[in-house]
């Protein structure tokens, strides 16, 4: 990474901006001082932001009304092509504002209609039980009597009402309906007795209802509301139809969205420039490899621009851009998931790539699944042409699938079919069948794990040597690597009960004692005082527990591989059982089970293989040498997502 400073005359500021955006190779850093802030044109950026928001809200609103294109159709279509003249025309004509006004109007209409419709439905629902009442709401009281509406718990209702009618003879109650455990009663009561009525009804658990400003009989109201429903529906349908018409302009809106986004980007980047009355300064990060192209581009287009490059200083943290060979590149997905290296660290991607792919293959262990995985990811890559992270993931899965196929052949797994069914040529390739020899496979997994860890420690040793920390490299790293190497056979025989030839065991024991002594003596290097050195040397041995745990962690390679094979076998077994069903339904059912079962198995175990292989890199491998914490390199560049601007050749 290089820091680049560019100084130019104000008159070329705009062109330089466009050049930077087109080149897309410089991450602009902030060098604005107070004076330059006052020269920044906040207004126009805000105006473009506002217009962009309008376009975005229109697109959101119209999204449900746009024509649905099938997934395949969408994939085949490329970006919308437009010209800068057409864009200027669209912008000037106020197209966006027009559509926005229409969309807002439509949205309001729809909302009001929907709310009205909902309220009407609720009113109908509420009035329904009272429909039998033939008296309009307006005339519910006379000089001496009023009508009150009560709902009373169904069980209490008859008893309570009878009691009331006996006690207050001028009162008459009519039960209009009984539903949902309630009785709906209309009660005619003398005005002076209403309080007594309320007391009694409340005591029985009743609730009063009032229909304040309604007029007409309940059934009249219900009828008119129902009639209004149709008009609400028509309003909504008309509005939706208009929205569908507007949605046809979606392409124009997308083009404008890109245009406004670009304007906002071009405008707001100036916030980071340092400006004086007649000059401007841009500062940013540029990849060292891109320097020549950058310089040439500037010299070709501009005179009198001053450029100055310098490497990052002590304490500066440049952003990180990873570069790897095409085969290794997809594994960047794994690295960036965890984080990026700091500027002076090694890029772990090429180091983890072979291990990740191998572990992935061991976890998925089925040649059939591997080939299927590669096929699917290849199809996605070719047909849908994804970009960025998704593309890397697809390429990673493609390579992983091929590796899985290779490992699958070697372990005798192809869609879980019994190895005895294979032709002799294929069978001769099988090195080990994990289902038959799980312990042997487990030992292979541990061996791979130990190599992985030692490799990680070796990387740390190498970077310590390079940094001149020879003592750390020799006593911290090299001794430990050797120590673990000689401990391995001892651990293998004592803990795993494996076979180790006598003389190997003998020499390992000797060497481990010697190395342990050395580690103890050198563990306290850098500390003052015998007691501190003694103590530090001693507690250094606690790391052995950590290393042992790390090695055990690799047992998952066996377990996940076996899980895939076991489920594949089970799927085949079930399909075989089902095949016997009469009238060909057996074959259909078996085919269904095979497709769904193996599909599910493949999906779940691919996910597991990816996550666990990744976890082994992050926890057992990275912990030996990698810290991370780097920032992503984000150059100032063209961010059109939906359209492409082509200039018409005159």
């Amino acid at each position: 990474m290089l820091k680049v400073h560019l100084l130019g005359h104000d008159s070329v500021r705009d062109e330089v901006k466009r050049f930077l955006r087109g080149l897309g190779a410089v991450e602009v850093t902030d060098v604005a001082l107070e004076r330059s802030e006052s020269l920044f044109d906040e207004e126009s950026v805000r105006e473009y932001e506002y217009r962009r928001e309008q376009v975005e809200s229109c697109l959101d609103f119209l999204e449900p009304y746009a024509e649905k294109r099938s997934f395949l159709e969408k994939a085949g279509v490329g970006p919308i092509v437009t010209t800068s003249d057409a864009l200027e025309e669209l912008d000037r004509s106020g197209f966006a504002q027009g559509i926005w006004k229409s969309c807002s109007g439509l949205e309001k209409r729809m909302r009001e209609a929907r709310d009205g419709y909902a309220r009407s439905r609720e009113l109908v629902h509420m009035l329904a039980p009272w429909a039998p009442i033939g008296v309009p709401f307006g005339s519910l009281s006379t000089n001496r009597f009023v009508v009150r509406f009560w709902t009373i718990p169904e069980r209490e209702a008859p008893g309570t009402l009878e009691a009331i009618e006996e006690a207050m003879p001028c009162t008459e109650a009519v039960i209009c309906a009984e539903e949902r455990g309630w009785a709906f009663a209309a009660v005619i009561v003398a005005k002076e007795e209403t309080e007594m009525l309320e007391e009694r009804l409340k005591a029985a658990g009743g609730v009063e209802h009032s229909f304040g400003d309604l007029s007409g009989t309940p059934s009249e109201i219900i009828e008119s509301e129902l009639a209004s429903h149709r008009s609400f529906e028509e309003i909504i349908k008309a509005a939706e139809g208009e929205a569908k018409e507007l949605a046809r302009e979606r392409d124009k809106l997308l083009v404008l969205l890109d245009h406004y986004t670009e304007r906002v980007g071009l405008g707001s980047i100036e916030k980071h420039f340092h400006r004086t009355e007649s000059t401007f300064v841009v500062e940013g990060w540029l990849r060292a490899a891109g320097r020549r192209a950058f310089e040439r581009g500037i010299r070709d287009r501009f005179e009198d621009i001053e450029l100055y490059f310098r490497p990052p200083e002590e304490g500066e943290e440049p952003p990180i851009d990873l570069v790897n060979r095409p085969l290794v590149n997809p594994c960047e997905f794994v690295t960036t998931l965890y984080g990026r290296p700091v500027y002076r660290e090694t890029d772990p991607t090429p180091l983890l790539a072979p291990f990740f792919i191998l572990f992935f293959a061991l976890c998925l262990t089925d040649a059939g699944y591997g080939l299927a995985l590669s096929a699917v990811s290849a199809i996605i890559l070719i047909r849908f042409k994804p970009s960025g992270g998704t593309a890397k993931l697809m390429r990673l899965l493609f390579i992983g699938g091929i590796a899985t196929a290779a490992v699958g052949i070697v372990t005798g797994g192809v869609f879980g079919i019994e190895t005895s069914q294979f032709p002799q040529a294929v069978r001769s390739l099988i090195l080990i069948n994990p289902l038959e020899e799980p312990m042997k496979m487990l030992n292979i997994a541990f061996l791979l794990g130990l190599s992985h860890m030692l490799f990680g420690m070796g990387i740390r040793m190498a970077s310590n040597f390079r940094a001149g920390l020879v003592a750390d490299a020799l006593f911290g790293d090299l001794l430990w690597i050797l120590f673990l190497v000689v401990l391995a056979p001892l651990g293998f025989s004592a803990i795993l009960g494996g076979y180790v030839p006598d003389h190997l065991f003998f020499w390992s024991k000797r060497a481990s004692v010697l190395l342990a002594a050395l580690i103890f003596l050198t563990g306290g290097r850098g500390e003052k005082g015998i007691a501190k050195r003694f103590f530090k040397g001693l507690i250094g041995f606690y790391d052995v527990v950590g290393y042992f745990g790390d090695v055990l962690s690799y047992a998952r390679l066996l377990a996940l591989g076996l899980a895939t094979s076991a489920i594949a076998l089970a799927v085949n077994g079930i399909a075989a059982m089902v095949k016997g069903l009469p009238f060909y339904t057996g074959y259909v059912a078996a085919a269904l089970i095979l497709v769904l079962g193996h599909g599910f198995n493949m999906a779940v175990n691919t996910l597991g293989a990816f996550v666990h292989s990744g976890r082994l890199q992050y926890l057992e491998f990275f912990s030996k040498f990698f810290t991370g914490g780097g920032r992503e390199f984000r150059p100032f560049r063209n961010e059109r997502r939906h359209s492409v601007v082509k200039e018409i050749e005159e």
């Binding site: 998931l337 965890y338 984080g339 799980p438 312990m439 487990l442 803990i495 795993l496 009960g497 527990v545 950590g546 042992f548 745990g549 055990l552 962690s553 047992a555 998952r556 066996l558 377990a559 996940l560 076996l562 899980a563 597991g608 996550v611 666990h612 990744g614 976890r615 992050y618 926890l619 990275f622 912990s623 810290t627 991370g628 914490g629």
Partner: protein, 158 residues
Amino acid sequence: MLGFMLVVLGAALAAGLAGAGSALGTGVAGQAANGVVSEDPEKFGRLLVLQALPGTQGIYGLVALFMIINRVAGWGVSLQEIPVSAGLEILGAALPVAITGLVSGLYQGKVCAAACSLVAKRPEEVGKGMVFGVVVETYAVLGLLGTILLLQRISLGA
């Protein structure tokens, strides 16, 4: 037959309880992860790895099961002839990984759920969150180690 029954029980406990620990742990972590993704879907990949961390215990339980099967097969006797004492010993040997798997799986899940909150606020520190989770896993490792060591010592004659 009782001897063999006890062997099966031991293997079942090893795989079952440790697997349960993983299920509980990944379940708790998964709930937290869902919460974070509801606000910021970009963090999905990192959170997925965090959720998978407590899955180790189930794997260790399965490995223990394999080792038990392997050990018993290595004796070369028919299933009926396995003495009750050997069966009980196998059952006992299965306990370390079963118990530590169950408990450490659940608690590692809680730590990973907290790590999901960490990633929500500081996505670049996901490594530190993972390390916290792995410390809990140490005890599952020790449990597996205990089971392996004990299994080695069990033979028919004892």
